[in-house]
Every structure is written in structure tokens, then in C-alpha cells.
């Protein structure tokens, strides 16, 4: 009875209070608390306290991970004990980010900043558009044509060329050595810059030459100033660091000038026709050396080589197995190719080929790495050159990779930003060809037997036997040719450590050649061949200069050493023009084959690792062993390759500390020269970006595929068991299986039989198969009755097609220096974030003692 009275009294009290406070009587505790402090809003006005309280509550619930309607005890507990939840990763998943942004060529960083600046940008853009639409349009293409016309007219005047060149040299020497006041030097810079900007718009080769000449002029001017004005040091320690920096700069100047000569006039050679009478075509031996690669990697190359268009009695394919494997022997017998193996395995690949040379007799030798799949037209494209030019000893074609290399995979730049190789095969080899200095690159090339035997077969003295062999042939007066037409494609190295291993081998080999067979010291080469070869070798010595550049800002920021004897203003007056103008000239030359600033990223990654091998090989060329490039690996989990990235983590830490030291310095000891501190800090910041990018590459992205799935997109037809057909595309290929992208999901179960038809020209080839997996539009097929005959047909319909890779150049995007600068900086930023994430991961693993969780979802 009493309790009832009490309850009803309480209820009445509650109702009265609710009325007074303006709360709904049944409302929760939160509303009561709120109304105790704030009065309800007058009608028609927004109830701000309630709105804020609700937001605060939601935020707290989210932060403390408290669900809706949980009691006070949970709240209290969560205040002190946080539930375990997966840490948010700071670095973005570039792949999904790109996916969201679509294929648009916009950077994330720029996109974000652009978003803030959108109104300004809109107004400026509209104003610019309005102005430019009023201005008369300039027919840049026609200007280019006219320049070509004039130049060919001038070319006809005898003796004009040497005279002009001598005059140009005289003018250049004058230009380099004339001292100017700082203000005039800036004015000169602006004048040159205007000319560069205009020349950039004109297509053709002569504007490129103009840009290169201007770059040479500005660089020479900088060099002169650098040598005469800046090498004054106060203390021996400063002098030591100063001369180190100076030496590194001399290296970059040499490489810059040699590079200009090397790529001055890419030859762009076209295939020569073969005689109509196929009886007169020469015999060709095809060598496919292998050592430890699995058969599934080798068999496509062998079958494709066998299907090349060439008279059957004049084409012999040999599998050179240095692993002496029974499986390979059986395979060779089954598909009808020669099998060569040897007792002792000296000199690795070079020894393997030399052994085969003694056992075969073909007039020409085509060499393919065991994972390079040639197209059917390879021989018909390349052999015309030999028939047209009897002194031609070798024809090289590009190495093309249909899978992304570690850089491309880990930064998701495949098919978007040209990789390391595209500069070499797109431009440098073509430039070499003009000077008759095309190098042999070990694969995808044809060599004439006689000259090869004359130089003693493939060179065995160095680990880059290919370049060394062509050097020897050039010395004997033979010619080589380069055809920039992709006629074979292969797998790129899969992991970063493998990639670095390959580059180390190249660097070591080039250093060896430089020592034991220096192009400048022996007779037989032309001046320009010497330049091309030495530039190729010097390129691999970038390790030490790069490391010097990466460390040098620390000398000032930590110890206050003045390694550059000039004040900040004159540094800007000379260094900036040199960097800008040569950057623009290089961007113009390299165009679509290399984006500005990416070379710095590639070099930064490899610098540390090439220093030691090149130095050792330079001191003692006999030291060093051949390491085979591992291909076809598998990365099951995302991880940061700590072992590989360790040196960069240290360098990164060094530069970050230098930045902190710089901030301290600018407010304490160096208040008198803030410009110098700032300049060094900008330099360190640039280094941080490069090193960040280098570390970021070491974060190996997960590879979903299990075996050697080769990306491959060709149209295909599915024939279902009920007689219906589906037009689709293939996605990837592996021995005995095919990945298909369906236009729409299909009701298919594992094991369902169906057929897939691929076409080679007008002919359909049919392959019976069963469904191996089916998820959404991705269908995995496993072939039935798989035989080498079927595999040959499949290769013919896919990799062997003459047009398989013709479009590779079209897919490259032209360079835009500013854009790629932003992109590189962004990669650096992402790299630092990735490192930070990996550090936290490592700490978590160490502290929690739990197995590492697989990466982001």
C-alpha cells in the first residue's frame, strides 16, 4: 500500500518537474540532464543545446565503442578500458583510391588542394580561357614543318655544318665565361625560360635541339661559376665535404652531356623487307637458355618460338637447359625442339650459349630469355636488316613486360607511368642506333654467327655478357641495329629484392667492363660509340653521387658546414636556371618514355645497393658472381620488406632529423642567414620525399594469383554446354588454365564442362574446359585434354599474335613535369605513411605477441 502511494507521488512529482523543465516525462536521462542546465528553446527557434548534446553523445559513443542503449556500467568501463579495434592505417590503398578516382589523371594531393582552391581556379581558368580565345591561335605544327624545311635547305650548303658548329662553340665559350651581376643573371634566366616555354610547344626535332643547346649553355654557365666562384672553404672539413659534393656534381654534368649526345637523334629504324623467294632466307637457330625456371614458365616461350613464321626447314629451336632436368628433356622431345645440356656449368648463361654455339650450325642465332614469348613475326621483322646490310652483326628489339615490376605494382603505376625499362628501350637504344652503338641486351635479339664466333662467342669475362659482346663486335667494325618494335614480351621480376638483385648484377657487370675493357682505352670504336658505351657504364655509378646528394644537406643543418661557397641568392641565380632548363630539356627529350623526377625515385631506391658492387667490381673486376634473376614468385601477404628498406629508413631518419635541426638552427644560431637554412631544408625535404618513395616501394603489395598467371586480354567466345555462346574477354593465362571476364554473371558451378574459342585471325581454335572457379564476372577455366599441341594453339592465338604488343607506345602518357613532381612528392608522402604504419604494426606485434594480421581489407 505504502509503496503504491510512494510510486504515485513520485510519478506526480516527475510529471510536475517535467512540465517545469520542459522535458518529455518518459525521456531518457540525457534529456533530463540537458534540461537541468539549459532551458528549452522558444518555439520556432532551433534547439542548439539539444543538437550539440546529441552530436557529443554520438561522438562519445563512437569513440568509446558503446552501443545504443547500453547501461552506465558499460560507459564507465569503456572510459578506462578501450576495446581492441583494428588500427586505422594512415597510408591509402593506392589501388582502391585510383579505382575511386577512375582513370582520370589527377593526383590525390593536387585533387585535395584543388578542391579548396576550386573557386579561385575556376575564376582564373575562365579568365585565362577568355584571354586565350581572343588571342590568335598559333599553328605549332606548321611552325615545326617550316623549321624542318629550313634546316634541310641549310643542310644542302657544303661545309656549313662544321663552320656553324665551330662558331657555336666560340659563342658558347663566351656565354659560359661572361660574368654578370646577379640581377642580370636572373634576367637571362627569364629570357631563356621564355624561349624554352615557346620551343616546348613546337613539335619536331629542331626545337628539341634548341632546348638542348640552351640547356648546355645554362649548364656551362653554372659550371664555370661553380668552379671559379664557389670552391672557397674556410676549414679543411668544409673543403672535404665541399669537394665531395663538387665531385658528385661533376658526375651529373658528364652524364647530362653524354646523355644529350646519346639521345640527340633517335634513329627510329623501320624493318626492311625480305626477298620474296623464301629459299634464299637464311637458317636461324633459336636459343632459349634456362637454368632453374619451372617448365610452366619456359614452355610458352618454346612453343611460341616454334610457331614463328619462317620456313620450317630453316628454323631450329633449341632449349639450352643448364639444370639438366629430365622433365625438360622429355618436353623438348615431345614438342620436337632440340635439347642441349652440358656437363660443367661454367660462366652461367654466356657459357651455356657458347656451348650451344659449338653444337649447332645455323647462320643466325636468335636468343630469348626463357620467359620471353616471341610473336610470330619476330624473325620476319628483324631478319631483313641482315640481308640489307651484310656488315650488320646484331639486331635488338625491346624487352617488353606484360606484368608490372615491383615499382609499378607497389605504387600502382602500371601502364600509367613509364617504367625504368621504357626509357632505355624507347629512347636510349634508339639514340644509340644513330651512332651505331646499339647494345646487345641478352634476349629478344638476333646475332649473325660469323661475327659472334670472331669475337670468341658470348663474352664470359663479365656478368653483363650481352653488352660486352656487342662492344667486342663494334670494335671489330661490325654494325648493330635496333628496331623499336616490340616482338616479344615476358614477365617482370616479381619482388623488389629480385628486382634489386637484377640491377646489382647489371651495375656490377658494367663496372667490370669499364675496368677490363674500357671503351676509351682500346682501339676500334668511333668517338660517339665510346660516348654511348661509357654513358651506359657511368649510369650505373650513380650510387655514390646519389647518396652524397641525399646526405649533403645534413652537413649544414647538423654541423653548420658551408659546403657551397656562395650566398643563397647567387645559388638561386645559378642553380635554379641550370636545374630548370636541363629539367625541361630532358622532359622534352624523354617525353613519354620517362616522367620527370621518377628517375630520381628509381635511382634513390637502387643507389645504396649498387654502391658496393660497382665499387668492388671497379677495384677488382674478378670478384662477383652471377646471380640469376628470380621470376615467377608469389607474395602471399602484404608486408614491408624491412631488410631491403633498412638503408632508406636510416637515411630518411637522418633527413628528418636534419629538418628538425634546421628549425632549431633558424631560431637560434643561424639567425643571420635564414635563407641558407631554408634552402638546405628544402633540399632535405626533397630528399625526404625521394626516400619516402623509396621506402614505400618496399611495401610489397599482395599478389592474389597463385601460379604464373600472365595478364592477357584478348577476345574469346564461350560455348556453354546448352549450346549458347557468350562473347567475353580473357583476363589471364596460366599453363592449362584461363581466366575470363564475363559480361554478366553466369550460373555455372565448379566442374561444369564448357568450351572456349580463341581466334587467330579468321581461324577459331576451340579448347574444351571445365569451370575451376566462378565468382561474379570472373570465371576460371581449366582445360581438358591439355596437350602441347593445344598449348601451341593457345600461344598462337594470344602472345604469338603479330599485333600482340603493337600498342604499347600508344598507352604511354606524355610527361608533364609539374604533374609528375606532385605525383612523386605524393608517393614520398605515402611512403612515409606506409613506413609509419609498418612501424606501428611491428610495435603492435612485439607488444601484443600476436601473429601478424594480414594487411588492410
Amino acid at each position: 500500500m505504502n509503496t503504491r502511494v510512494a510510486t504515485s507521488a513520485l510519478t506526480r512529482l516527475r510529471h510536475t518537474l517535467a512540465q517545469q523543465l520542459g522535458v518529455d516525462a518518459e525521456a531518457g536521462r540525457g534529456a533530463w540532464l540537458l534540461r537541468l542546465v539549459f532551458r528549452p528553446a522558444p518555439p520556432g527557434k532551433r534547439d542548439w543545446p539539444a543538437w550539440w548534446a546529441e552530436r557529443l553523445g554520438r561522438h562519445l559513443r563512437f569513440e568509446l565503442a558503446v552501443g545504443e542503449g547500453q547501461d552506465a556500467a558499460t560507459w564507465l568501463k569503456r572510459l578506462f578500458l578501450r576495446p581492441h579495434r583494428r588500427r586505422v592505417r594512415l597510408s591509402t590503398n593506392l589501388r582502391s583510391a585510383r579505382h575511386h578516382r577512375g582513370a582520370r589523371r589527377r593526383s590525390m594531393l593536387l585533387g585535395r588542394i584543388g578542391h579548396w582552391l576550386a573557386p579561385v581556379h575556376g575564376v582564373a581558368g575562365r579568365a585565362g580561357h577568355a584571354v586565350s580565345s581572343r588571342l590568335p591561335t598559333v599553328p605549332w605544327a606548321r611552325i615545326g614543318e617550316r623549321v624542318n624545311h629550313w634546316s634541310s635547305g641549310l643542310d644542302r650548303v657544303p661545309h656549313l655544318k662544321p663552320v656553324i658548329l665551330l662558331l657555336a662553340l666560340a659563342v658558347a665559350v663566351g656565354f659560359w665565361t661572361t660574368p654578370l651581376p646577379i640581377a642580370d643573371q636572373f634576367r637571362l634566366f627569364i629570357a631563356v625560360l621564355v624561349v624554352m616555354v615557346v620551343a616546348r610547344r613546337i613539335p619536331g626535332r629542331w626545337p628539341t635541339m634548341l632546348m638542348v643547346s640552351l640547356s648546355i649553355l645554362m649548364t656551362g654557365r653554372y659550371m664555370w661559376w661553380r668552379i671559379t666562384q664557389t670552391l672557397n672553404f674556410a676549414t679543411p672539413v668544409e673543403a672535404l665535404f665541399g669537394y665531395l659534393l663538387f665531385a658528385a656534381e661533376i658526375y651529373t654534368w658528364i652524364v647530362l652531356f653524354f646523355g644529350y649526345i646519346q639521345t640527340a637523334w633517335p634513329l627510329n629504324r623501320q624493318p626492311k623487307p625480305l626477298p620474296d623467294d623464301t629459299y634464299s632466307w637464311p637458317t636461324v637457330d633459336v636459343y632459349i637458355p634456362t637454368y632453374n625456371e619451372p617448365l610452366s614458365v619456359v614452355s610458352p616461350a618454346v612453343l611460341a618460338a616454334k610457331s614463328m613464321d619462317w620456313p620450317h626447314d630453316k628454323l631450329r629451336v633449341y632449349l639450352l637447359d643448364d639444370g639438366s632436368r629430365e622433365e625438360f628433356h622429355r618436353f623438348a622431345n615431345e614438342v620436337g625442339v632440340g635439347y642441349l645440356t652440358r656437363e660443367e656449368h661454367r660462366y652461367a648463361k654466356a657459357g651455356n650459349i657458347n656451348h650451344a654455339l659449338a653444337m649447332t650450325s645455323g647462320e643466325f642465332i636468335a636468343i630469348f630469355d626463357c620467359d620471353h614469348i616471341p610473336t610470330r613475326s619476330f624473325l620476319q621483322t628483324t631478319m631483313g636488316e641482315f640481308i640489307a646490310d651484310p656488315k650488320c652483326a646484331m639486331v635488338q628489339t625491346p624487352h617488353h613486360f606484360f606484368s608490372p615490376d615491383p615499382f609499378e605494382r607497389n605504387y600502382d603505376t602500371f601502364m600509367r607511368i613509364p617504367n625504368e625499362g621504357s626509357l632505355f628501350y624507347g629512347l636510349i637504344q634508339d639514340g644509340n642506333d644513330f651512332w651505331n652503338a646499339t647494345f646487345f641486351c641478352g634476349s629478344c635479339a638476333v646475332i649473325r654467327r660469323a661475327p659472334l664466333m670472331e669475337v670468341g662467342g658470348i663474352a664470359v669475362e663479365t656478368v653483363t655478357e650481352d653488352a660486352h659482346t656487342s662492344l667486342k663486335m663494334h670494335r671489330r667494325g661490325y654494325r648493330t641495329a635496333y628496331l623499336r618494335i616490340v616482338q616479344a614480351a615476358g614477365l617482370a621480376t616479381e619482388s623488389l629484392s629480385g628486382h634489386i638483385g637484377q640491377r646489382i648484377r647489371w651495375a656490377r657487370g658494367m663496372a667490370q667492363i669499364f675496368r677490363i675493357d674500357n671503351p676509351w682505352l682500346r682501339k676500334g670504336l668511333t668517338f660517339f660509340q665510346r660516348i654511348c658505351y661509357s654513358n651506359a657504364m657511368l649510369h650505373f655509378f650513380y650510387g655514390i653521387p646519389r647518396l652524397i646528394f641525399l646526405c649533403m644537406p645534413c652537413a649544414y643543418l647538423f654541423f653548420g658546414l658551408h659546403v657551397f661557397g656562395a650566398d643563397a641568392i647567387s645559388v638561386m641565380a645559378y642553380v635554379l636556371p641550370y636545374l630548370f632548363v636541363s629539367g625541361m630539356a630532358n622532359s622534352r627529350i624523354q617525353g613519354q618514355y620517362r616522367h620527370s623526377f621518377w628517375a630520381e625515385v628509381y635511382e634513390s631506391v637502387l643507389a645504396w645497393y649498387t654502391v658496393l658492387p660497382t665499387t668492388v667490381a671497379f677495384i677488382n673486376p674478378k670478384k662477383g658472381k652471377f646471380n640469376v634473376t628470380a621470376k615467377g614468385g608469389l607474395i602471399e601477404q602484404e608486408y614491408l620488406d624491412w631488410a631491403t628498406s633498412k638503408p632508406y629508413v636510416w637515411l630518411l631518419a637522418l633527413n628528418l632529423c636534419a629538418l628538425v635541426a634546421g628549425i632549431v638552427r633558424i631560431f637560434t644560431t643561424q639567425r643571420d642567414e635564414p635563407a641558407t637554412v631554408l634552402m638546405n631544408m628544402v633540399w632535405a625535404l626533397f630528399n625526404v620525399a625521394m626516400l619516402g618513395a623509396a621506402v614505400g616501394v618496399a611495401k610489397e603489395a599482395r599478389q592474389v594469383r597463385v601460379s604464373h598467371h600472365v595478364p592477357l586480354v584478348v577476345p574469346a567466345t564461350l560455348v556453354l554446354s546448352n549450346g549458347k555462346t557468350i562473347a567475353c574477354r580473357t583476363e589471364n593465362y596460366s599453363t592449362g588454365g584461363l581466366g575470363i571476364i564475363l559480361p554478366e554473371p553466369l550460373e555455372l558451378d565448379r566442374g561444369n564442362p564448357l568450351g572456349v574459342a580463341l581466334s587467330r585471325g579468321d581461324i577459331d581454335y576451340y579448347f574444351p574446359a571445365v569451370v575451376a572457379r566462378n565468382s561474379g564476372v570472373h570465371l576460371g577455366l581449366k582445360f581438358e585434354e591439355w596437350s602441347y599441341e593445344k598449348e601451341t594453339q593457345l600461344i598462337q592465338c594470344t602472345f604469338g599474335r603479330a599485333d600482340a604488343w603493337v600498342r604499347w607506345e600508344e598507352e604511354l602518357v606524355p610527361d608533364a613535369p609539374l604533374h609528375s613532381f606532385v605525383e612523386v612528392i605524393e608517393m614520398g608522402y605515402q611512403g612515409v605513411l606506409r613506413l609509419f604504419d609498418a612501424c606501428l604494426d611491428a610495435v603492435e606485434v612485439a607488444v601484443m605477441r600476436r601473429p601478424r594480421q594480414s594487411g588492410t581489407e
Binding site: T717, L718, V719, N722, G723, K724, T725, I726, A727, C728, L742, P743, E744, G755, A757, D762, I763, D764, Y765, Y766, P768
Partner: protein, 264 residues
């Protein structure tokens, strides 16, 4: 306006199916399309959605000289005009058939003159469906055509009868396109016959070979358009390709100046 005759030297080659499908696909490519049936079987309208055979049509024009054939045409939603043969209610079938043959034999340019009276724009096209060649009906269509599309199923008989057809087309000086239909890549016989055809016909054989697909008769049974009910099928892709080729042929042939007849 251009006229395309669809003929075959064996039965069941897929003439009517191709005529009906291509009519729809060419209409999608912004051509004014008239599909004409010059075949007493009177089945074309089944392919455009009608459930009963057409009564009125061309046949009365041949027999009685009536001019009501223009009323017999039906138009579908996609804008294609269908002109059936008609005569579903005809009783004296045998007698009229003989009379028909005789009449057509006498006026060899009957269909050509008739089509000349149809007012279609320059890039318009009429597609003529025919019975198995040789017949007076097929001859009429061939005489009227600017382009003869020969449907070749990958069957031995088709190959055996093809030389005679080729000789006649050559004698007539008609531009000809050969299209392989109902090709199954799984069949070695089909692959071999295709290779043979490619060898003997050269570029006259269209690169678009229409694949065999069990969905085609199923779509007809369900009264659906095959290319729209199964847009992802290979056969639909092939016919789309063929239609695009024909469309560009029509536009090219219509270009003033280049219209001086095809190279036979």
C-alpha cells in the same frame, strides 16, 4: 536507297533469321529499313512478332496486279517496315503457285520495279528474304539487289552448290558478300570448311562469321528478339558486327560520286 538480297543455295541456312535480325540492327544504326519477303513460305512476319501468317502481301500484286501491297506492310516499334508475301487464306495453292512462277518468270524485273516505287531516303535499305536458290523468287531478289549477301552454313552441300551460285552472280555482275552462319568452333568439320571457304572466296567472305547459338531458335519460340534478349552472346556480337559492316557499306555506296556501282 540500297537493296540487299539475302540468298542461300541450301535450305535452313538462316536467311530469314538474318534478314529479320539485320533489319532491326540496321534500324538501330539510323537507316530507314524495309524488310521484304520474296518467299511464298510467308514466314518473315513470325520473326517480327506476329503470331499468325500474313494474309495480304506481295503475292496479290503478282497475281492480280493489285496495288494494296503497300497496305500490307506492318511497322514494328523499332521503325522497321515489314512487307510480307501474304496469301495465308489462299485456297487454290497449287494453281496459283504455278501461275506465280510463270508470271515472275515473265517479268524478271518485277521486284526491282516495285521497290523503285518505294520512297525511302538515300541511306535507306531494303532487305529481301528469299527461298533456297535456285528459284524464280531468288532470281527476282538478285535482279533487284545492289548487294547480294550469300548465307553459307558450314555444310558440305553448301560448298558443293556454291560454285554454280558464284558463277551466276559473277555473270550478273553483282557485288557479293558471303557470310558463314551457324559456325560452331567446337566442330572440326566447321573449322575445315571455313578454311576451305576462306581459301576459295578470299576477301568476299565476311570476317564476321555468325556463331551457332541455341538461343536463336529459343528466342523465336519465345517471340523475342535474339540480339536483345541475349546481347552478350557471341552470335549477337557477330550479327552486330555484320550490321555495322553493312551500314558502312550502305553509307559508302550512297556517297554521291562513289555511287557508281560496286566492284563485282
Amino acid at each position: 536507297m540500297k537493296t540487299i538480297a539475302i540468298i542461300a543455295s541450301v535450305g535452313g541456312a538462316g536467311r530469314t533469321m538474318l534478314t529479320a535480325t539485320l533489319a532491326g540492327l540496321l534500324a538501330e544504326r539510323r537507316h530507314a529499313v524495309l524488310a521484304v519477303e520474296c518467299d511464298p513460305r510467308n514466314v518473315l512476319t513470325f520473326h517480327c512478332g506476329l503470331r499468325t501468317p500474313a494474309r495480304q502481301g506481295l503475292h496479290s500484286q503478282v497475281l492480280f496486279g493489285n496495288d494494296d501491297w503497300s497496305d500490307a506492310a506492318v511497322q514494328t516499334d523499332d521503325g522497321v517496315l515489314w512487307l510480307p508475301w501474304g496469301g495465308a487464306r489462299d485456297d487454290g495453292a497449287a494453281a496459283s503457285s504455278a501461275a506465280m512462277s510463270a508470271a515472275l518468270h515473265q517479268q524478271s524485273m518485277w521486284l526491282r520495279d516495285l521497290l523503285a516505287r518505294v520512297d525511302l531516303p538515300g541511306h535507306g535499305v531494303s532487305l529481301i528474304d528469299t527461298p533456297t536458290w535456285p528459284s524464280v523468287y531468288a532470281a527476282q531478289a538478285m535482279a533487284a539487289a545492289d548487294l547480294v549477301m550469300v548465307v553459307v552454313p558450314p555444310a558440305p552441300l553448301a560448298c558443293a552448290t556454291l560454285p554454280r551460285l558464284r558463277a551466276e552472280l559473277k555473270a550478273l555482275g553483282k557485288e557479293t558478300l558471303y557470310v558463314a552462319n551457324a559456325v560452331s568452333p567446337a566442330s572440326q568439320l566447321h573449322t575445315d570448311i571455313l578454311a576451305l571457304l576462306r581459301d576459295s572466296l578470299g576477301t568476299a567472305l565476311s570476317t564476321y562469321r555468325v556463331h551457332a547459338d541455341s538461343g536463336i531458335p529459343e528466342a523465336l519460340a519465345r517471340n523475342e528478339s535474339f540480339v536483345h534478349s541475349a546481347p552478350h552472346s557471341q552470335a549477337a556480337h557477330d550479327m552486330q558486327g555484320l550490321a555495322t559492316w553493312l551500314s558502312s557499306w550502305i553509307r559508302r555506296a550512297y556517297q554521291p560520286g562513289a555511287a557508281a556501282g560496286g566492284s563485282a
